[in-house]
């Protein structure tokens, strides 16, 4: 009903969001550098944010915006903790490779 208000069709936003999300997923699965994996995770967060904001704008419902802000704060917190862990493991092993960090394997 209100999709006409957008200069770009909603479908494109959602498609972009999906593409970004799957690029993030592929990055987490295939890359071994923890920094790149973190960036991929951020990409997934942002893909989700884009979907939230697009729908919120399209349906004129502000709940999506609020969720986007929440996701941003969570992403910030997550980035802070994850980078700290990366720094600590780097100090311990002198390597930046998540496959080397498996002291808790069965």
């Amino acid at each position: 009903m209100t999709a006409a208000l957008l200069p770009v069709p909603l479908c494109d936003y959602v498609a972009l969001s999906a593409v970004m999300f799957f690029i993030g997923v592929a990055g987490v699965i295939v890359r071994r550098n923890p920094l790149v994996m973190l960036m991929s995770i951020e990409l997934m967060f942002n893909a989700a944010n884009l979907a939230f904001v697009a729908y919120a704008r399209a349906w004129l419902n502000n709940a999506g915006h609020i969720f986007a802000f929440l996701v941003i704060t969570v992403a910030a917190a997550e980035a802070a903790i994850a980078l700290a862990i990366v720094v600590v493991t780097f100090r311990a092993s002198e390597r930046v490779d998540v496959d080397e960090v498996r002291a808790l394997h069965g």
Binding site: V25, V28, I29, V30, V101, L104, H105, G106
Partner: protein, 637 residues
């Protein structure tokens, strides 16, 4: 009144137990007074019954004092009183004087409970408690390993009997739905013959264990490890005759089952002659008396088994006196000779202990069945009863046993009292092999050190008093078919007259034959031990007899060895099987196997925890993919 008579000895036991350290010597008098009071109360009550309480329908508890239980209760408390009195002297100076009397009073209570109960459960409780009292008193000198072993043996064999009785009572309750004797006996005609036989069999297993009948007799000779008054009271006069009481009490059951009568009569006859033969081969004065007790109870069991109830319990009545008499008199000897029990080391005691001599002499005459003495009348009744109820071979066994009895009792008398005192003779010269060589070592091994401070009349009086019933109690049985004896008339209301075949042999012939056999037995004993040459060569002759004693008799027919092989080894083998197979492989096996399977599961699951973060992420994505695929293809419901 009946309840009070029952509870007075219990109160005495509790007081002696609790206040023993304060009462000291007074404990003996307290216990004796309790038994005397109980005797008086029973005598004053005479007859009657008393309902106590009802537990649930069919389970009514009460006490009864009919003629059968009256007789038993009077013997228990009467002879018990004399033996308590005697014990004050015998146990004087013992470390656990009060404990002894607590146990003795407890025994009197348990035995009264056994005979006064009017129901099966009360009977069974009394039955178990007398076994417990017997256990306490056999093992009274628990510093002595042999006493502890004997106590344990007695208890275990008695429990075998208790279990048999219990199953009989289960059968009764299941079929009659009441625990009272009266209900059981009135319902007995409606029970089938197999049920009656099964009940009788179970009851008789109990009776045989308690009364030391073959094959459950092995505990009685060992029970002589207890103090002599205990042997006199429990293992001669009262407790061991509980089996006779049980069969007499259950006369209506036995009357219904000829095979049960046959069983009991046979066991009694076998025990009578088997015990008598063993009695002739023993050297320990108390063991001779123990085997003689076993043999005499065999007579009683045979009597009540064949249906001659009045005769069987008459023998109980006279036996209680003369056997208590024999034990108490031999206790005087044992006491004076510092715990010497081997008759080979006695001899020549007539002058030294005239009272013991007269006590044992009257006892021997009574048990041998010399006319005029008590045993003559009662034994005759049993032997004649066996024939009258149609068991000629039991009759023959009874007569033969009477001869052997006369032989071994006169042997005891002669070896103990005639000739020279042999206490100073080297035991080896008499053929005695002792592990602990010196008399000093033996004395150290015996914890009971007789003290002679006790006034001698305390031990003498009961023996002197018992001479009277030992000699005269049989006269109650004197009568004929025309003028029935006091005894017959007294028990006529107790036992239903059973059909007795007219005796094919007149009673006076039986009496004469028995007496002739008895005289023959006395003759052999005289020839072997009392002639002038026998007395002169006593040491050499006793040595010869000891060395030539057949092994089978010296080992009591190897019954202990048989029990050892069959039950003890059997139990050990079973235990070995359980400890080597069942325990490690079945019980531990189950525990170990469940632990091992949990561990194996853990090992298998552990492989999934690779530690690769990316692998976890992939699994996560795969899971999400699965969800999405599910909702895409199946759709949300």
């Amino acid at each position: 009144m009946i309840l009070i008579a029952l509870l007075v000895p219990l109160a005495g036991a509790v007081l002696c137990w609790a206040l023993g350290p304060w009462l000291r010597a007074a404990a003996g008098w307290l216990a004796t007074a309790a038994v005397a009071a109980s005797f008086g109360l029973i005598l004053a009550t005479g007859s009657g019954s008393q309902a106590l309480f009802s537990w649930m329908p069919g389970f009514d508890f009460g006490l009864t004092l009919d003629r059968l239980s009256l007789l038993w209760a009077l013997v228990i408390t009467g002879v018990g009183f004399l033996i308590h009195l005697y014990s004050i002297g015998y146990m004087h100076g013992d470390r656990a004087f009060a404990r002894f009397f607590a146990y003795m009073n407890f025994f009197i209570f348990a035995m009264l409970l056994l005979v006064l109960s009017d129901n099966w459960i009360g009977l069974l409780v009394g039955w178990g408690l007398v076994g417990l009292a017997s256990y306490f008193l056999i093992g009274f000198w628990f510093e002595r390993p042999s006493a502890v072993a004997a106590a344990r043996k007695a208890f275990v064999i008695n429990v075998v009997g208790d279990v048999g009785m219990m199953f009989a009572i289960f059968l009764i309750v299941a079929n009659v739905h009441s625990i009272r004797f009266a209900d059981t006996f009135s319902a007995v005609a409606t029970l089938g013959a197999p049920v009656v036989f099964a009940i009788c069999f179970g009851l008789f297993v109990g009776a045989a264990a308690k009364s030391a009948q073959v094959p459950l007799h092995a505990w009685l000779p060992d029970a002589m490890e207890g103090p002599t008054p205990v042997s006199a009271l429990i293992h001669a006069a009262t407790m061991v005759t509980a089996g006779v009481y049980l069969v007499a009490r259950c006369a209506p059951l036995w009357d219904q089952s000829a095979s049960a009568q046959m069983l009991v009569g046979t066991v009694g006859a076998v025990t009578a002659i088997g015990g008598a033969i063993l009695g002739a081969s023993q050297w320990d004065i108390k063991r001779i008396l123990a085997y003689s007790t076993m043999s005499q109870i065999g007579y009683m069991i045979m009597g009540v088994g064949v249906g001659a109830y009045a005769g069987g319990i008459a023998h109980f009545f006279t036996h209680a006196f003369f056997k208590a008499q024999l034990f108490l008199a031999s206790g005087i000897i044992i006491h004076a000779l510092n715990n010497e029990q081997d008759v080979r080391l006695m001899g020549g005691l007539t002058k030294r202990m005239p009272l013991a001599f007269w006590g044992i002499l009257t006892g021997v005459l009574a048990i041998s069945g010399i006319p005029g003495f008590s045993g003559f009348f009662s034994k005759d009744q049993v032997i004649a009863g066996a024939l009258a109820h149609g068991h000629p071979w039991m009759y023959a066994v009874g007569i033969a046993t009477a001869g052997i009895t006369a032989y071994y009792m006169f042997r005891l008398l002669f070896v103990t009292f005639l000739g020279e005192y042999r206490g100073n003779v080297d035991p080896a010269a008499l053929g005695i092999a002792r592990s602990t060589g010196s008399a000093q070592a033996r004395e150290l091994a015996a914890p009971h050190k007789p003290h002679h401070q006790a006034p001698s009349w305390i031990m003498g009086l009961p023996v002197a008093v018992l001479i009277v019933p030992t000699v005269f109690s049989g006269w109650l049985l004197f009568g004929s078919s025309v003028a029935p004896s006091l005894w017959t008339r007294f028990f006529a209301v107790q036992f239903a007259p059973s059909g007795t075949a007219p005796a094919s042999v007149p009673e006076w012939v039986t009496t004469l034959v028995t007496f002739a056999v008895v005289l023959a037995g006395i003759g052999v004993a005289t020839w072997r031990y009392a002639t002038r040459s026998a007395r002169a060569n006593a040491v050499a002759r006793l040595r010869n007899e000891t060395l030539r004693m057949p092994k089978v008799l010296a080992n009591a027919y190897y019954v202990d060895a048989l029990i050892d092989v069959v039950f003890v080894r059997g139990a050990q083998i079973l235990g070995a099987i359980f400890s080597r197979v069942v325990d490690p492989y079945v019980i531990d096996g189950a525990v170990r196997e469940s632990a091992a399977s949990a561990q194996a599961l853990g090992t298998a699951m552990r492989a999934l925890q690779s530690g690769f973060v990316r692998a976890y992420a992939f699994v996560l994505v795969l899971g999400v993919g699965c969800f999405l695929a599910y909702y895409y293809f199946v759709g949300a419901r």
